[in-house]
Symmetry: C2
Subunit: 720 residues, 2 copies
């Protein structure tokens, strides 16, 4: 079976650039105060790894931790893991055709990718013992000294990746396939989404640019185009996602649920269908906790909404009303307040969200993740969109209702300065340009800052830590490294200090960006142009982030972008409403009257139903087109069916040949007379059951035909 080499997801990488065939590195902490325990647990760790067929090798990391390198002892172990995983996939309906009974043939037919190899080894390490794994979980219980378990970056691939992407403008499917083969479908789906989102943004960018030139802000035409675009993009992506899942062979993997280790169950019960024992946490009990989401959402709205309203009215007061002393310094006050308070409140609320999700006690990883993402979305929604909402729905159309706030700030200012003479104030006049400025800030300034903080700051921070560590680490540790391993060990030590890559954060960024486009871009049609530029960079900077800023992620599988799809749908729908309302409220005169209320309601109603109608139409049209992967899947199913049918029907057809159909065999020559005679005789004699008699009146088709002809003749003679 040594011929399997090269098919099982590993090239011959070693030496300078390679990783000496290491699959996973386990970063093992040895706190100086718990040396004895750590040592005992270390022995257990090595034994547990050896038991599941992993070779181990240990090196020093720093003063208080070790590096345990592991790789699969033999390709046969991998072959079995791959085979049984593919078999499970087939039984779960993820794969259409099951692997044959020959393990090595199955692997030869479909070589193992690096991602598959690493995923299966990770599962082998972490699966519980009764599922055949080693049951090693980071930092928990027996394994509390296991700091992290991670694969090593494939430097050769990473270099190649960066090189390729920096040289081409448009990504291809093969680029995504490469990512999938190395980092798994979970990461590949993010890049696939970003690639398509980027491509699609060309339309709103072009329309937005034209609208900006010709129509200006708040144009109905742009609003409608933008709404239609979001419908088309959303429906397109839903189909594309399913298509990718099929072509990557992962459709339905999200249905294969992984139990959450932290799940607390109340009791065990037999599954009603399968009879297997299932851990149960009562639905009603969870629902009670879930109801806490309502006060949580309210708290988000009140705290973050209140913050935005306060700071914005203060800012308006300072910039547009106030004319007193220190205006040039006071202008920074609102920004400082926001910059300090928003992260503070967000962190508090995010902690609450995490606690709440933990309390909700989901049984599967996916449910837990989705619930957490949902709460994060509420939070991000408030922090991202509240300021713009305030400007679009309060400041511009109903500026005068801000007067009490402004008066309040005026009085406060008067009190603080303790001046006797009234402060110099201007008459307040709302300015529609404000929303464009805010959008500019969001799309340009904030995105640039974001890219920098996402990429440059962690990089510098990491470099600094490494440097500091190097300085503080005694030479004795690194000096023990064998000379041919110096480079390699340095690289591994660096990687232990990196962040864990979190694809959720990247999704969040893009979904929030989609929200700006969908909800508010009607107030500044250039939005999409800047997003287009940003996303070109984003695609590359996210790649860079994975390569230089993060440890290599575990290559998990996924069959969609998960809960973010719902978020996209929600933002598209809400966009139809807000765009209509913004256009109606901000483009006309700014009076609060029943007519305005009726008008805005009517425009919302129309826009929303236009959205639903467009959705139905787009779905109908897209439903007519079969995607390539669906086609391929249908072909596979068809061939499978054909094969099965041929196998089984061949057998039945063989049997059929024996069956003689009565009535076709030649009957003796009969005339009408003999026939009638016979029929009469049979009826008189009355032999057999009534049913038999009925059918024996005309035996064989010749008799039926003759009798029929006679009847036809009688009828026509009766007529004439």
């Amino acid at each position: 079976m040594s011929s399997l080499r090269g098919l099982v997801g590993k090239g011959e990488d070693s030496g300078q650039d390679g990783n000496f065939g290491v699959d996973y590195v386990i970063h093992y902490r040895v706190p100086s105060k718990e040396r004895a325990q750590a040592e005992a647990a270390f022995v257990q760790l090595i034994e547990a790894l050896a038991n599941i067929g992993l070779t181990t090798s240990v090196r020093c990391c720093d003063e208080t931790s070790l590096l345990v390198f592991t790789r699969l002892a033999s390709d046969d172990v991998l072959g079995q893991q791959v085979y049984s995983s593919r078999l499970q996939d087939w039984l779960q309906g993820v794969r259409i055709t099951g692997p044959g009974s020959d393990v090595s043939q199955a692997i030869r037919d479909e070589p193992v990718t690096e991602a598959e190899r690493l995923r299966l080894i990770y599962l082998l390490i972490t699966k519980s013992r009764n599922e055949g794994g080693a049951g090693i979980t980071q930092g928990q219980g027996q394994w509390k000294y296991v700091e992290s378990i991670f694969p090593l970056h494939n430097n050769a691939f990473n270099k190649e990746w960066l090189h390729k992407w920096s040289q081409k403008y448009v990504l291809e499917q093969s680029d995504l396939d490469d990512i999938r083969d190395r980092f798994g479908e979970d990461v590949a789906f993010y890049f696939a989404f970003l690639k398509d989102y980027f491509r699609f943004q060309i339309f709103p960018a072009a329309i937005g640019f034209s609208a900006w030139l010709i129509l200006g802000q708040f144009s109905v035409f742009y609003a409608i185009c933008n709404c239609l675009w979001s419908v088309i993009f959303f429906e397109y992506w839903k189909r594309k996602e399913a298509d990718l899942a099929i072509s990557w062979g992962v459709r339905g993997v999200s249905k294969i649920q992984h139990q959450r280790p932290e799940f607390q169950w109340d009791f065990e019960a037999a599954d009603l269908a399968t009879g297997e024992p299932v851990k149960v946490y009562p639905f009603t009990k969870r629902l009670q906790t879930q109801l806490l989401q309502i006060p949580f959402a309210l708290a988000c709205v009140v705290i973050l909404g209140g913050l935005v309203a306060t700071v914005n009215s203060l800012e308006i007061f300072i910039n547009e009303v106030y004319g007193g002393p220190g205006k040039q310094y006071l202008g920074f006050l609102p920004s400082v307040l926001l910059a300090v308070l928003t992260p503070t409140f967000s962190t508090v609320l995010m902690t609450a969200a995490k606690r709440l999700t933990d309390k909700e006690n989901y049984d599967t990883m996916d449910a837990h993740h989705a619930a957490l993402v949902q709460k994060q979305f509420v939070l991000n929604f408030m922090t991202s969109y509240m300021a713009l909402t305030f400007t679009a729905f309060v400041y511009i159309p109903f500026g005068n209702i801000l007067q009490p706030f402004l008066n309040f700030w005026g009085k406060t200012a008067q009190t603080i300065t303790m001046s006797e003479v009234p402060l110099d104030t201007h008459q307040f006049q709302s300015n529609p340009q404000r929303i464009a400025n805010q959008m500019y800030y969001t799309t340009v300034t904030a995105q640039i800052i974001n890219t920098l903080t996402e990429l440059v700051v962690p990089y510098i921070k990491h470099k600094a830590t490494v440097k500091a560590k190097e300085l503080s680490t005694k030479d004795t540790i690194t000096s023990n490294d064998p000379p041919e391993e110096v480079e390699f060990l340095k690289r591994v030590r660096n990687q232990t200090g990196l962040d864990v890559y979190d694809v959720t954060a990247d999704y969040r960024e893009m979904v929030m960006q989609y929200g700006y486009l969908s909800l508010f871009s009607v107030s500044w049609p250039l939005t999409a142009c800047f997003f287009l530029l940003n996303n070109w960079v984003e695609l590359r900077s996210d790649a860079l982030k994975i390569i230089i800023g993060c440890r290599r992620p575990i290559p998990w599988r996924a069959d969609s972008i998960g809960p973010w799809l719902t978020a996209l749908g929600f933002l598209s729908w809400l966009g139809s409403i807000t765009s209509a309302a913004i256009v109606y409220l901000c483009s006309g005169d700014n009076s609060v009257s029943p007519i305005t209320a009726g008008g805005v309601l009517l425009s919302i109603l129309l826009a929303e139903h236009l959205y639903f109608a467009a959705q139905l139409a787009v779905r109908f049209v897209m439903g007519k087109v079969e995607s390539p992967s669906l086609q391929r899947e249908r072909r596979e199913r068809f061939q499978l069916r054909k094969k099965l049918l041929e196998e089984t029907v061949g057998h039945v057809a063989g049997e059929k040949a024996e069956v003689a159909v009565p009535g076709i065999e030649a009957t003796e020559q009969i005339t009408r007379q003999t026939l009638e005679e016979e029929a009469r005789l049979a009826s008189i004699q009355g032999h057999g059951s009534p049913e038999e008699m009925f059918w024996q009146r005309q035996r064989g088709i010749q008799e039926t035909i003759l009798v029929g002809r006679k009847l036809i003749e009688e009828q026509s003679s009766g007529k004439s």
Copy 2:
């Protein structure tokens, strides 16, 4: 294989009550002018039937037609048909487990129902020759003298059915299963729907009755309850439908498409997936025809809406304004106009709908049927709901805008009577009671009339035709009947004259009734009470209609109520809007002002979003509950998986035992000294590749553990 008897869908029915084992009757016309052709075709018919394994027997029907009785020649033919049909079902994914390779065992495991037997024989008769059938199509081409092909009513079952249903108040699942076994899933689904719809109506009936007593017309409370009820019922039925389809083993049969014989294709092309030749009619060409649906719908709205507006305003004029001569006679004029013109216009439009659907040239039966139902729905929607819409949205809230119409009628009346003195007229004042009267008419009077026309009129008509026929038929024909067949042949001759049972008409009636409840019942909360009564009768009268008023239907399969589900969903959604608007418009004062417009828009917006929210919530909650059939299906799948896994993994496990995991085997006794020595030696000698060297530094787990321990010791000593 004669032991199969009794398992293959037929009891021993013969004699007085039974049908002499006849499966199908072919009513064969012999026009006196085309005697020779008809005779030649008759011979072909008998031969074609014999070729597919059917025994035939011919009798006289009347002067110009014959009765050809057929039954399967042997149970083996049936066995093969059943087996290959079940195999196909399995391959198409309709059945979870495929039949074994033994035909008779498969049939013994799952006996053939009467419906399955009759369906397969019908398919055998009508399937094209190259699919293994006789290719006999009613009234077309070669078979233009074939008037009809129908199975005979099973009198014993029908009597039992009527007897049972007349004695119990609530139907059970077994009653539906009986219908399914005799009449197929298509008919059974209708009764299942009606049964559940009837049961669910108890809630709106109870709430409606209370609301009528306490709150009167136009109550918000009733509107909300009704809207929630319709959401719950709709979601319930969607799940119930899927559940029934599984328990009847027909889930997904709607995906097995039957080609429409009338389909005209432009060219043949190879299917992209399977490579089989497919008949193609270009999508764009069909879309062009489909776009004609828009003018069609507009025509329906203009013609029927105009009729309703005209007749209603005339009626209002006569009843509420006019005080001149002949008022008591003129009162009938609007009703007469409606009674004459509505069916006339409907017939014309229905003909147009049929033509349009034919022109749309669908390739499958289902698509054709759905397209026709869609157009019928538009038509029925207009005829059923326009009058009430007129009253609810024009007459009650904006009565004064009717004034021009009333003036017009006034002038017309003046002109017609040619009187010099002005006619006696009252001041017009709209009356909210009008809509309650209309609802009363719709729910009580119209339903009673409908039941009568549906049941009694066809029965009387049929009896009259039979009597007339009997009188005109010469005795020579019936006198030739053998005495033991007289009763039987009389029954069959009767059945040839009956209507074809059309389940679509029954669905339409119920869906339209659902629409009254959902759209308008807020104006007369007693609606559901009367519908409840009506539907108790309806369940029984529909059964009676099938038994005495129609030929026995071909027992087709179905996996849902088809396009009516969409119609139900549409009516539920529209109901949320109309109810809100009716409550807002009709309960307040009747002035047209911008405030009213804003209010009605706001109430619609709120109601619609309440509807959507309720839908999401109900889906979420119902999604938590697994239906019994889904559970059973999951169990079957689980067992199948388990079996397959055991078969395959047993094999793999056998192989696994041979694989030795290196590192676990006992290594020779080593001390730290020998180990270090060895490692140093290996590194100096530099044998093998760098990768080999890396892993050979620590051979086996004992070495790794030792080195690890040493490193830990060093670290702690470095610390101290």
